[in-house]
Subunit: 153 residues, 6 copies
């Protein structure tokens, strides 16, 4: 059986933290789908097409990683893609509480789905997309927070 | 003296978690008022009349439980209703921090008011109204998260 | 039905934090049993007879409060005393995690038993028996941490 | 070398918690700049001019404390003001997680900048500007939450 | 490449929580070694031979699961067994902090080793070996906390 | 007035985390006393003379840092040394809860004493003396956890 994982998120934009989790989980899965969840009610900061392009660029050398976008529930998307694992990074104890809630709800909605967690590497623990956007909006240099080679507009 | 408790919230909608806390605290109080706080600045997802109707339906067999709605501070509402206890459920450590803050503020505003906490039963810990709304909006089945017999529109 | 609560602990020694939780929960219960758990494997710092005497002294004016000691499981002691509530104070988020675990285990062992939590008042949040013993051992003045009138040896 | 600290925030409005942190850190710094961050995307509740006036009033007797406002990144503002310390109060474990993230990001953006934390005094732990606004909007009495002498409109 | 994971612990005794984590992670790994760490300085409560026997009994039907014991560092044991993953269950936010520390240390000691986390199922969150021992010592019934079929002495 | 801080701990042994906190707080204080608390009831792992020697070695180039040892309460030691600040590093949310408790107790015992916190740098967050001892006892290489140049026996 293929071990296929979905790594859901908004990736608005992808950070070095995301990149690091994906790279470290490569040996664990045969296929990883980075799935950009589209929230109808909340406009993203960066364009979907840009977010997809940046992720493709970062993982160009890894054929087992691909990018997709979806609307609706993550559990429904996983079923559609025949993925039995959700991959998530844990950064802080606050993250943990949130992820536990989401993970248990997902399990109730689709009991065949297992969420697998990796802990962020210390150097990336403080980085998340919202902080990257904040620094970016205020004109700060975000290059150390996003994967090498990515150029924000 | 009557032991009267107010269980404040938005109940948007009521969940099995809320139901469980109320049922477990029945032996503790002579009267429990489920009090829907109306936030003038934030529109609720479900109509107030529906939220009231669902709660009435769930506790129809329990005369010591009644439903009401209020605007303004919870402490003022408690004073008006001559209730000396606030009842709250605790789900997570993050909840705890939030509730501690609110509980201490309420005590400063009305020192005769005591907040009583019950911990959620494991099976209901992951359920809250915001997640129910989220699953509902995405077309998922929420029946396992809300009390039996409740039909969302 | 009598609302009888057990407030279990080692009370080694009783602190102002304990005193405060008991006093605030008096309106909630008809009877409160302060139950000193005797741990066969771990010697207490103060003598059991002293710990009992101090508690009796603190609550001399409150006939609905009494002191007892017990060995074995708290749930078994509650059953024996015909108490349907356990009363506990919550100080910190770390406390919360611990108490949640214990509360859920107690509920599994005796499903008719409900644990009721009060949050400590800010001024007493930092006080616990272990810190009182520590200050005491180092010759510090512990009078502000223990109920008025208590004289440690 | 002058030990100059920036105490950034929105101070919407200043609370007794803020006042307490500043007063307690006076012996640590030669100069403290209370810096009101202006968020272009989020309207404040009270006017900037009022917020500045209230802070000036509270610290009128302390020449080493001054008030300012800024836009952009806190780290850039600190550099401009030649301040090598950021001063922050820690209230809860949730605060801690948030502050750790911000502190580490600030250090990455300007490695010469050190964030110094004081823990809030128990009595002020539950007070923050958002709760003050909430009580104020609902017509409650906020005088015990804000520094003496401050009159909200 | 074989995906081999080590699930280290003292299993003193194995609980339903342990059993659940192993069963849920079976689809993720080709081989799981349940590795009982022997602590020279701290005597275990149950005999090593019993602890091994119980685990063997629980997973008798799963050839990809085996039991072993080891002394020394977990990272050294993993290297010896040619395992590139450590499997751990996360129960609470307090667990999270502890596991993060251990996981980061293990990564510093052996950077090729990845720790994979699953979150405990709500019903098992409150169960750990130390609580099982506690209930057992006090003569309580622990059968609902340990895997079916296990008989403690 | 001299800004003199006490950095209390057991330093059993000193770690890169300790070293980092001291170095980063040098601009904040005129004098830092690294104070090894001697616990009469708990034997340390390394000899006091070694622990002192290692710290002296690490800070040989910094005349404003000195080492001392003390018995009794930290607040009494601070008073004796005429120090008005306690310096502490915060690593995790669990640390935070513990430190808050200790800090508030110290403030009650000596209200003129202020505890100042710095957050650990991500790379050192997972390191503490107890983990260093653990790796050391099991024959692991601890050189990356302790300051450069220190040779454990």
């Amino acid at each position: 059986m293929i071990r296929r994982a979905v790594f859901p998120g908004s990736f608005d934009p992808i950070t070095r933290g995301h990149e690091n989790i994906i790279l470290r989980s490569l040996p664990l899965f045969d296929e990883i789908i980075i799935a950009i969840g589209i929230n109808m009610e909340k406009k993203s900061f960066f364009e979907l097409s840009d977010r997809i392009k940046w992720i493709e660029q970062v993982f160009a050398a890894y054929p087992q990683v691909r990018v997709d976008s979806f609307t609706g529930l993550t559990v429904d998307y996983c079923k559609k893609m025949d993925a039995t694992f959700i991959l998530r990074g844990l950064r802080t104890a606050a993250d943990f509480e949130f992820e536990r809630t989401i993970g248990q709800i997902n399990k109730k909605l689709n009991s065949g789905l297992e969420t697998i967690f990796l802990l962020t590497t210390p150097d990336f623990t403080s980085i998340n997309s919202s902080i990257v956007r904040d620094v970016y909006k205020h004109g700060g240099d975000v290059s150390i927070f996003i994967p090498e080679g990515i150029k924000l507009p």
